[in-house]
């Protein structure tokens, strides 16, 4: 067992962290105030990341990525977690699921995404189908060899900048002993396709400037060439490629918690009340002790999940634990940091209130905490027939 990082890994961490500190932090307040990332800023960030060879570093070298291992990539995500998500979005990490592209889909979607020429977004969730993905209503019917899509998606991150969307749609229903079960197919949908509209969604308390979009399909006609993976094979591609995205949420949470923690530590060491530093009060210092303990625990849990993936070991439960624990940890750390700052913690002079707001969504997206607990407990009980 070996807990240290290699020299390369240390350099990856240092480089990404300095990038975030120097290229992202200075623009955070502006994005927070305006709720927008100016187009030129996003493009400039993207170009810098391309020049640094970090763009699409989660993709294999054969397709132009950097071929990072799960562990290396998790370290990248962890450091990016420090910065505003609206801005780090341009530190492009396209969806791995694009590796399922075949034939000329590679030239049309996969390779341009890896080169940073096209940005993607992924759409599963619908107003009436969240945790219960299979309950989706958005459906595709056959018509003269093509598909006609009708329905809506919501909460679609990155919709603002996406040139194309990976959309999961119901393409039929099987009757099973447990009742009807939808068949799902993944489609590649270009922005601007007739019958398809992407519009700005709700105003969210978390991650201002990182907008969520609503997608509307009205008799949208798509040829077979737009099917990603197999027809009715949507769950197969989902399971093969989206399995690991929960780790990125865990890694984000650890990075963000470390940035937040530094504010708590320094404020506790400097702020004086009753004639002494508040760190001298055990009520404060023990909170600091608990926070760092939880952050380290979440960090190791997350990195070990990534390591398991690299080793080809089963990791479903471990990744669920990492996502669950790291996001709940982030909620506690941001809340405690705010408490340590007293009233000032609520004011936007400090980024604490933003960390606190941002943290809230982490326990919801990519599978809520309850769904992670469901995955963990099913993994334990299924073999016992319970």
């Amino acid at each position: 067992m070996q807990f240290g990082l290699s020299e390369e890994q240390n350099m990856i961490v240092d480089t990404v962290r300095s990038f975030v500190e120097n290229e992202i932090y200075p623009y955070e307040s502006e994005v927070e105030q305006s709720g927008q990332v100016p187009h030129e800023l996003g493009e400039a960030l993207k170009q810098k990341v391309i020049d640094l060879g970090f763009y699409a570093c989660n993709f294999p070298e054969e397709v132009g990525g950097a071929g990072l291992s799960h562990l290396d990539f998790t370290l990248v995500e962890r450091e990016l977690g420090r910065g505003s998500m609206a801005l780090t979005h341009f530190f492009g990490r396209p969806q791995n699921i694009l590796m399922a592209c075949e034939g000329d889909q590679r030239e049309r979607y996969l390779l341009p995404a890896v080169r940073g020429e096209k940005m993607d977004a992924l759409a599963m969730t619908e107003p009436e189908a969240g945790s219960d993905v299979r309950g989706m209503k958005c459906s595709a019917m056959r018509s003269g060899g093509d598909w006609i899509i009708n329905g809506s998606k919501h909460f679609i991150s990155g919709g603002e900048h996406a040139d194309f969307f990976i959309v999961f749609v119901a393409t039929g229903e099987d009757q099973t002993p447990k009742g009807p079960k939808k068949r799902i197919t993944a489609f590649l949908v270009d922005r601007g396709t007739p019958g398809f509209e992407a519009r700005e969604g709700y105003k969210s308390v978390s991650h201002r400037g990182y907008k969520n979009y609503v997608l509307d399909f009205t008799d949208c006609r798509l040829p077979d060439a737009q099917v990603l993976g197999e027809v009715d094979g949507g769950f197969a591609v989902m399971n093969e490629w989206l399995y690991a995205t929960r780790l990125t949420v865990a890694a984000f949470s650890v990075g963000r918690a470390r940035r937040c923690f530094d504010y708590a530590l320094n404020y506790a060491a400097e702020r004086k009340q009753f004639g002494q530093q508040i760190s001298k009060f055990q009520g404060v210092s023990f909170q600091i002790a608990d926070m760092i303990t939880e952050i380290d625990a979440a960090d190791w849990l997350t990195l070990s999940g990534a390591w398991r993936l690299d080793q080809g070991l089963p990791a479903n439960r471990e990744i669920a634990s990492a996502k669950l624990y790291a996001t709940e940890m982030l909620a506690r750390v941001t809340d405690t940091t705010l408490q340590i700052h007293g009233g000032m913690g609520l004011m936007d002079d400090y980024p604490i209130e933003r960390f606190w707001r941002d943290a809230r969504v982490e326990r919801i997206w990519d599978g809520t905490s309850e769904i992670q607990r469901h995955i963990i407990s099913r993994d334990l009980f299924r073999p016992l027939g319970a």
Binding site: E7, E8, N10, M11, I12, D14, T15, S18, F19, D51, L52, G53, F54, C57, A66
Partner: protein, 252 residues
């Protein structure tokens, strides 16, 4: 032309330094260490010279503890071609003195025959600002310190220096030792492909003894103290009051 860039492993500039309880120095246990920022500027300049076709090879050198290998890897990841690590101590708290470093660098220069040595103007840990100057004296080479611009043209270099009164431009003969200031350039980030390549670049490991240099310290640190905390200021109601207060304080 070969360029040698000495790089020092120092406490990271973002770290809040803490004085050791016995006053013997700064606590370096479990503290993030990085390349001295001025040396990063020197590495950047050397790489730019190579990119401009004015240098053929960039050699990064570090004198210190074994862990300085990480600092050299960073230089390699930025774009240096190879590295030499000279182990001169096995205790991270031992600072290798400028004269020792200069003597070891002389040994390396005698072997490598570079046309230029680019140093940081000083290390941010002890702020000595001496190694480059001592090296130039030991070599009998010209020197140009505090460079904010550097232009190499054949046998000479034109260097703009940041001096107290403003900017001074001098011309020095090559080979030369140049120490670089903050405004010379903005160092690049290590790119991911270069990070991955760094491991494969040669890194030679030597000791101070290989160059016949005794690295044991000649200076003794008597005491290290934190800078005094800044006293709180006062608010004045008018310019007259300000002048009065300044007079009282003996400031005008």
């Amino acid at each position: 032309m070969k360029v040698i860039v000495p790089v020092k492993r120092v406490i990271d500039y973002n770290v809040k330094v803490r004085v050791k309880a016995d006053g013997s120095g700064v606590d370096l246990a479990n503290v993030k260490m990085s390349m001295n920022p001025f040396d990063e500027i020197a590495v950047e300049q050397a790489i730019r010279l190579k990119e401009a076709g004015k240098a053929d090879e960039v050699i990064a050198v570090s004198v210190g503890v074994k862990q300085a290998q990480e600092t050299l890897r960073t230089a390699l990841a930025m774009g240096a071609d190879r590295a030499i690590l000279v182990i001169a101590s096995d205790d991270v708290h031992t600072d290798i003195e400028p004269l020792t470093v200069a003597k070891i660098l002389k040994g390396i220069i005698d072997e490598e025959q570079p046309g230029l040595v680019l140093c940081g103007k000083q290390a941010i840990d002890n702020d000595m600002n001496a190694t480059g100057q001592m090296l130039s004296a030991l070599m009998g080479w010209s020197q140009a310190t505090f460079a904010s611009e550097l232009d190499i043209d054949g046998d000479s270099a034109t260097v703009t220096r940041e001096v107290d009164g403003g900017l001074q431009t001098i011309k020095v003969n090559m080979p030369t030792v140049v120490t670089v200031d903050l405004r010379l350039n903005e160092p690049r980030y290590a790119s991911l492909p270069n990070i991955m390549k760094a491991k494969k670049k040669p890194l030679d490991e030597k000791t101070a003894a290989d160059y016949g240099v005794d690295a044991s310290p000649r200076l003794e640190i008597v005491n290290t103290v934190e800078p005094a905390a800044r006293a709180a200021g006062i608010k004045v109601g008018s310019v007259d009051e300000l002048i009065e207060k300044l007079k009282e304080a003996g400031a005008v």
